[in-house]
Symmetry: D2
Subunit: 312 residues, 4 copies
């Protein structure tokens, strides 16, 4: 089951669950995947930017990927393989593809500047991992400091057939989606899947611009699934109503650096994670931050009952 | 009427109004100021980052500042004087202070990196403009790429008595407010005013953390005034309800680069600006973007009647 | 006498001379220009990156440019007009062109990243200053953090006929010169003048790659003129011998940030400047740094007698 | 034999030798180490920035380190362990320390900005690798975009006893050495070894400022050893004469990105490497670049006979 350019729906970005002592919590991996499936997710992405991949020893990364992939047998799992060098990227790619990953996600190193540098980097990455491995192009300038114009994305898509999906998290990004879909219409670029990240901050309008869904880690992936479903069903105002109800919390979780702690905290309170712990170095939440999130959840619960079903 | 560290409430960041042909629209300046006053604004900031200051000839800058200041006689006007060199900064500061500005705002040049470089820059800036001119320290890493720790802000505040206000737009920024207020409590830093920018994206909780108000350009400054007023009056849920109603539009307007076009468009539709035009180089809105903003306004109007009173 | 694409030889980058009290030293401007002429310079560039332009009030900039231009009647003077906005760039351009400047030099703002952003910036700059004003494209990634590929330079050259010269200071930069000259040979780019900056650190081989000369501020512009002359006369080893003799000092002067103090110090000791003073904020030399430069000069004097003719 | 703060002399930064087909050339490792020993090197650093570490699979890195360490039994070998996460850093550190490395070198990730971020990073790194492992602090702003003030270095040295050496490659950097040695004199910082990088571009004066030697990869480490020896013996002018003779080539090799190809090319011509090949992605030399280096070697050979003893 390899990833292809027809992918759509919601691919949650999975956190890596730890116990308070830093050990990997494999049972929470199972719970996460089961929950993604129940929510209607169509795939999942693991060991991404927010999966604390850099805090795992190599063998641990492999075991985490293996557990996600084996539990998620019904849906494709994409594995983040970004690395400082192509040797490590190739090694991890081989291992995860052999164990059944659907494809890999590659973020650009933050030293890339010119259009040519970006295209060259992805050309070399494909040479390293093999052109038979489908890959997701991650376009996230806020975090990676690499700016890809629509023209650069088109060059990559046209030159590298194994690029099947764009993880779109440029900001602003709405016109970019329209431009890319325009390239497809005018025949200058083949079709690729566009799933949106950036915690879903613009998912409401991104879908209307032509995105195929979401590929992000918001702590209510079930809401993301509902918004995609409602939008595709033409229930526009209903989709916006649900999205807007979540926006105060979603915005709070989207804070750079601080967001993962919020996400794990809410997922713990939703019963998905045993612990909200991050491995060091990791941000933690102050009591006041926790009370703010609790307040946001309480307010959200008035509009979405799922936010009221909490533990702990 | 010089700015001091007791400043609070809302200081809208004013856009510079142009006609479609690029000429300055002085009557819209009057309308803006009148509207700020009616809304309960306690000050205003002009020629800031979003005031298109760099597109004005020097004489035009002076005339724009003069018009804002003279119309706003009842409230203090802060003028942005950020410049590539201290000579230009000093020259503009002198002119605007002589015409009655309450103080100036200084953003850090984006080449500053170390703590010492940042502190040194502000020391030299004060030497240039004079220690008798109150200034606002602008902490906006997303745009200026300069990261000021709370400790650096404290060093600046303690060393430079003319620093009376922090325009706080770090992101994440809630803990920073708590830390700075903690410095005041433990006696290691004198009190300064903290007004929040970043389009007000976290104003709801920033006020609860100890901020004194807002200093940003959201197209409904009247909402910002209401939220500050309600929060200070202890009407917490009411404040959040109003804020949350605006959040979908506020988030849309907060997009870097694209936001000013949205802001001017809505202000034109609210009857405040004759035209939404920016001088070149400026972003414009596609028809689809306009329809999205119209959609956001229509949805907002169900909760805040002010969003339904539109022209054009 | 407008700058055109046939420009060659040496255009020294002139410092702005100050007295110890910070006042402009106009007589040293005359001495500098006279010295440039005696040395065989074919032009001069003023108010550049190292001309401390940002420390001048606008009227001062105009007077400095005027003095350089009027004294240098026999050779073309290029004026740096880089500015944070096009309004200021246009205003200064108009003034200096009216007083007889040969053209202007425009550096890219350090926020530009993508190829399209760079090309667009220069297109808009030309719209602002007028397409009848010849301009020098400054390619200096180390200082401006803007990376222009040869392809981007070609786009600018082909789209904007008023681009007549490249101030080449990319590092490494030798292959870039070969690539650009290759574009001229294969007919894909019209001819432009390429003068080299970066303090001349690679001038020896840049000339052999096809550069037309130097456009930099090394404290011995007479050496630069000699190296260009010797190279053009086919005296290769003689050119390298002279260049190599200067390299230890040249390298010392090329240190970012610290270099201007060295340059002004040597120029003072050569009798060209009354004072080595910079306006604040400026780097100064420690006694140890001065003794190092004196040591370098003493060693150089054994090979180039000009280094032994010092005052003070 | 653990690295300590008395280290001095020359620790060449070793390239990783490959055959033309990309396989590791272990015999050239032996030749390199033997040559370092003959030249009077007092240590060596492997798998550094220029050791192409990122292009090695993990097992290959371990084997390369092992070969260097076992061959260099008489001198300490430092191993670069910079990694995107502490897990990988810890794993590699453990392996190489167990096989006899003298210590490790840690470069800062290029996302660090504030003083506190830098100090915190090294604190966490030491927590990860263990406080019993001596480490080298790499201060190389040009490549890593991280600016460490002398005060920050002092904080790291004072807080972390396992920091025993500074690889100094700031630019400009002479005053920094004086400042750090001043900290030692005034008792505010304990003594550490300072070895200089940046291809030795300022080694002549760095030694006079108080540096203990060189830690860089220039293709004539024997010259570096001689310059250190001559300087320590008080033969100042002789040291400068030798250094100046090499400066034209040294400067050419110091070009960012392009330098490794030059270095490997010269080392191949000196009979140290079987091949100048880099693994992909790597820069290669054009024929014109090779002829320039040959020209530089021929000129150098007139002053240093070692440059005339070439093969191939």
């Amino acid at each position: 089951m390899l990833l292809n350019s027809d992918a759509s729906g919601v691919y949650p970005i999975a956190p890596t669950p730890f116990f308070d002592d830093g050990k990997i919590d494999f049972n929470s991996i199972d719970r996460l995947i089961d929950f993604y499936l129940e929510s209607g997710s169509t795939g999942a992405t693991v060991l991404g930017q927010l999966g604390e991949a850099a805090k795992l020893e190599h063998e641990e990364s492999v075991e985490v990927a293996r557990r996600f992939i084996s539990r998620a047998s019904a849906i494709p799992v994409v594995v983040g393989v970004s690395a400082p060098g192509f040797a490590a990227m190739r090694a991890l790619t081989r291992e995860v593809m052999e164990m059944g990953a659907a494809g890999v996600m590659i973020a650009p190193p933050n030293t890339l500047r010119t259009d040519d540098q970006i295209v060259t980097y992805y050309r070399q990455a494909v040479e390293a991992i093999g052109s038979d491995v489908p890959f997701v192009l991650q376009d996230y300038p806020l975090t990676f400091s690499v700016q890809m114009t629509p023209g650069v994305i088109r060059r990559i898509v046209q030159e590298l057939p194994s690029c099947v999906m764009l993880k779109h998290e440029d900001w602003p990004g709405l016109e970019k989606i329209s431009t890319l879909r325009g390239f497809e219409k005018d025949g200058s670029m083949r079709h690729i899947s566009i799933l949106c990240g950036n915690n879903g901050l613009f998912l409401d309008y991104e879908l209307e611009r032509g995105a195929d869904g979401a590929n992000t880690g918001y702590c209510f992936p079930d809401m993301l699934c509902d918004v995609v479903r409602l939008t595709k069903a033409g229930k526009r105002e209903e989709a916006h109503d649900l999205f807007d109800a979540h926006l105060p919390l979603l915005r709070y979780e989207q804070q750079p650096g601080a967001g993962l702690a919020v996400r794990k905290y809410v997922m713990m309170r939703r019963g998905l994670l045993t612990s909200a712990a991050q491995r060091k170095p990791g941000a933690s939440m102050t009591p006041q931050a926790k009370s703010e999130v609790d307040h946001l959840l309480a307010r959200l619960a008035k509009k979405d009952a799922r936010a009221g079903k909490l533990v702990g």
